[in-house]
Each structure stands twice: as structure tokens, then as C-alpha cells.
């Protein structure tokens, strides 16, 4: 399992307005494309100097492909990255603060200690 790669997906999608829309509209295809084309990019290196070893496991791929932020939390994805991206994706469909409070409610079964977020 790679919390780092989950975080890298959340981070790189969130900072790209066009990718945010692609991920909102077609999450599974976006995750597939991202894993093939983006997962191994070292962000401060040119593309010819990419990594060779980064891939999701099946559960991670599925959590991302289904916009499943509860499972991402349970996996130890960074909560700030997940929250920020998902607000960008879905806040627009809710009344003010409605998405954020639903998000909290859907995580209500989680108790301390929360999953470790260290990468």
C-alpha cells in the first residue's frame, strides 16, 4: 500500500483545475490515465527522469475511482489533501457548509487513534 501515491494523486489533481473537472466527471478513467501517465513523474524532474515503481493496489485504485473519501481516510491518505480536493469537487452541489458537515458525518464511525498518515 502506498499512502504516498494516494497523496500524490490528491495533490496533483487538486492543483490542476482541468484535472479536477475530469476527476469529477469520470473518476475511473481519470485514475487509470493518471496511474499510467502521471504516477511516476517526479514533480521537479523532466519526464525522461521519471520513477519506474509506483502503482496503486486494487483497493486504492477502487477508492479513488469511486470518490470514496471515507475509505481514503481509513487508508491513511492525508486528511487535508482529501478534504481540500473533495471540497473542490463537490461543495458546489450542496448548501454552504453542507458538504463539509456531511463529510464529517460519514466519518463519524472513526475514533482515536485515527489511521496513521505518516508516509
Amino acid at each position: 500500500m502506498s499512502k504516498y501515491l494516494l497523496n500524490k494523486f490528491l495533490f496533483t489533481v487538486d492543483r490542476d483545475a482541468e484535472l479536477v473537472e475530469r476527476y469529477r466527471e469520470d473518476p475511473r478513467a481519470t485514475v487509470t490515465w493518471w496511474e499510467e501517465e502521471y504516477a511516476n513523474r517526479i514533480l521537479n524532474c523532466v519526464t525522461g527522469e521519471s520513477s519506474t515503481w509506483l502503482r496503486f493496489d486494487e483497493a486504492e485504485r477502487e477508492a479513488l475511482a469511486t470518490h470514496d473519501y471515507v475509505t481514503l481516510f481509513e487508508m491513511g491518505a492525508h486528511p487535508f489533501l482529501t478534504l481540500t480536493l473533495f471540497i473542490g469537487l463537490f461543495e458546489r452541489d450542496h448548501p454552504p457548509m453542507g458538504f463539509q458537515t456531511e463529510y464529517a458525518r460519514r466519518l463519524a464511525h472513526m475514533s482515536l487513534p485515527y489511521p496513521d498518515i505518516a508516509t
Binding site: 504516498y4 497523496n7 500524490k8 495533490f11 487538486d14 492543483r15 483545475a17 517526479i42 514533480l43 521537479n44 481516510f73 492525508h78 486528511p79 487535508f80 489533501l81 482529501t82 478534504l83 481540500t84 471540497i87 473542490g88 461543495e91 457548509m97 463539509q100 458537515t101 463529510y103 464529517a104 458525518r105 466519518l107 463519524a108 464511525h109 472513526m110 482515536l112 487513534p113 485515527y114 498518515i117 505518516a118 508516509t119
Partner: protein
């Protein structure tokens, strides 16, 4: 030598800009009182008549990333662009440009390294709301050069709370040894109890009001020893999953000094976090 004329510790709330500039039906009911408190807090900096601001904050996964994560970083650039796409999108923050005080950056880096802090540096740093929020609240005219100091309160493994206090003490000593006839304020922002992306987020108060009361007491009375006796990297998970941002307050307690009561303390309970504002005037009293 430079003079340290004010030490300011504050929460940084990215919703303040939108709340304070909204009108009519868009203006939240808590905005007027919030603006009143922020303007009173702003006056504590204005009165100190600073020439330069050292700004302590933390990048929220904007420019700094897990493939190369510094623990403490000092910006050394003549100019800092500021605020990022997702801060415009979520908080309505404006893009900003701040001037840098490069010679003070160099002094902090050289002196910090020599004092045992392996500081990272950046010659091209885009700063985020941890530093622009206090500019908006405390110096909205944005007319002073800054030195940004970033801490890692976000991506474990983190430095321990003691290290934040030690760095605060070192920053104070370095500011006071800067050979320039300038008036310097050190401003740092963090959080009290805070949960983001977890089940306790966006509740009617901060996730742990009892922690907040204790924290305000520690900071306001300069009780570094008491604070360090209770606060650890592990304990900070309990009040809320983003409460490690409290360590930036601990850094500021290190700047202010052990046992020194803040000259100004104010708080404001908002729906998901408590705002807290502290000002110290070094050398015994008001400017």
C-alpha cells in the same frame, strides 16, 4: 542593531477575508464582531511601528511536497508571490505580492545554521495563507518587507514541540543581532484545536474547547514549561487531527520568552475553531 518591537502570535483563518469583505445576505452573522476584534489586534502591530516582518507559518502542501520535504525553511528572495489556486477557489483569497528582506533572510540562515538548525532555504517561494492571512488581518496595506519562515506541522515525521520552542528562541536572538537599524516584528500563525478532513471537523465549536482554554492560558502567560510538560507529538492528535499547527504557537512562545505575559490577548469562538490573538512588546512594555 535591529530592535525587536513586537512579537505576535495568531490563528490564521482563511475564511476571514471573505467574511470581512462580504455584504448583505452573504455576510455571516459573526463577521462584524470578528472584524472589530481583528482591527483591535491590528492596532497592536501598528503601534509598534515595524519596518520589517519575520513571518512564521506553514505551507499547506502547495509548493512543498512529500518528495522533498523540509522541516524548517527560510525564504530568501527579493519578492514573494502569494496564494494558490485552491485558496482562491475555496476561500476567495486574492493573489498577492510581498516584498522580501533578503539581507535578514541571509542573517537568519547563516546564524541559524551556525546555531545548529539545519535550515532549508528557498530563493523562489510562493507563500500561502498561513502568511497571507496575518498580512490581511494585521497589515492589509502590505507595505513592509518580510522574511518567511516555514515549519513542517503537516507531513510526519515532524520535529518535536521542544524544537519549535528552541527555534523560536534562536530567531529572537538572531533578529536582535541583525546589524541593521530596523524595527522588526515577528509574527507567527498556527492553530488551537482543529480537525480537518476528520469526523470532528466543522462542529459548533473547535473540536476541543478544553484544550483551547489551556492553550490560551499557556500562551498568554508565557508558560513554556507547563505547555511542554503536556504537549507531545502524540498528545496533539487528541484535540483534533490538525492540531499540530499549535506548534507554531509554541515557536512564538519561544520568541516571546519564558514566563512573559502577553501584553494583549483576545479570542473569538467561531463555529469550527477558536480564534486567538496575542501580542508581546519586548523590553518591558508598550511601544
Amino acid at each position: 542593531m535591529a530592535e525587536l518591537v513586537a512579537v505576535i502570535a495568531s490563528t490564521h483563518h482563511p475564511f476571514y477575508y471573505r467574511a470581512s469583505t462580504s455584504t448583505g445576505d452573504d455576510r455571516p452573522p459573526f463577521a462584524d464582531e470578528w472584524v472589530r476584534k481583528v482591527e483591535a489586534f491590528r492596532e497592536t502591530l501598528t503601534k509598534a511601528r515595524p519596518d520589517v516582518l519575520v513571518m512564521v507559518g506553514s505551507d499547506h502542501f502547495h509548493q512543498l511536497w512529500l518528495d522533498n520535504m523540509p522541516q524548517f525553511l527560510v525564504g530568501k528572495a527579493p519578492v514573494y508571490d502569494a496564494n494558490f489556486h485552491n485558496e482562491e477557489r475555496e476561500f476567495g483569497l486574492p493573489r498577492m505580492v510581498l516584498q522580501g528582506q533578503e539581507d535578514l533572510s541571509a542573517h537568519l540562515l547563516r546564524g541559524g545554521l551556525d546555531a545548529g538548525f539545519d535550515l532549508a532555504f528557498s530563493n523562489e517561494l510562493r507563500i500561502d495563507h498561513s502568511i497571507t492571512c496575518p498580512i490581511i488581518t494585521l497589515r492589509p496595506q502590505n507595505d513592509l518587507p518580510i522574511v518567511p519562515v516555514y515549519t513542517n506541522i503537516f507531513a510526519p515525521p515532524l520535529p518535536r514541540p521542544e524544537r519549535f520552542v528552541q527555534l523560536g528562541r534562536a530567531i529572537r536572538a538572531l533578529v536582535e543581532s541583525w546589524p541593521a537599524d530596523r524595527r522588526v516584528a515577528v509574527i507567527g500563525t498556527g492553530h488551537l484545536s482543529l480537525e480537518l478532513g476528520g469526523p470532528r471537523q466543522f462542529g459548533p465549536t473547535g473540536p476541543d474547547p478544553e484544550f483551547d482554554r489551556k492553550a490560551v492560558r499557556w500562551i498568554g502567560s508565557g508558560d513554556i514549561e507547563g505547555c511542554l510538560s503536556e504537549v507531545t507529538l502524540d498528545s496533539l492528535h487528541l484535540p483534533g487531527n490538525a492540531t499540530h499547527g499549535f506548534m507554531d504557537f509554541m515557536l512564538m512562545m519561544g520568541v516571546a520568552g519564558e514566563g512573559l505575559q502577553a501584553d494583549y490577548v483576545d479570542t473569538y469562538d467561531l463555529f469550527h475553531t477558536m480564534e486567538a490573538y496575542f501580542t508581546w512588546y519586548p523590553k518591558g512594555g508598550r511601544p
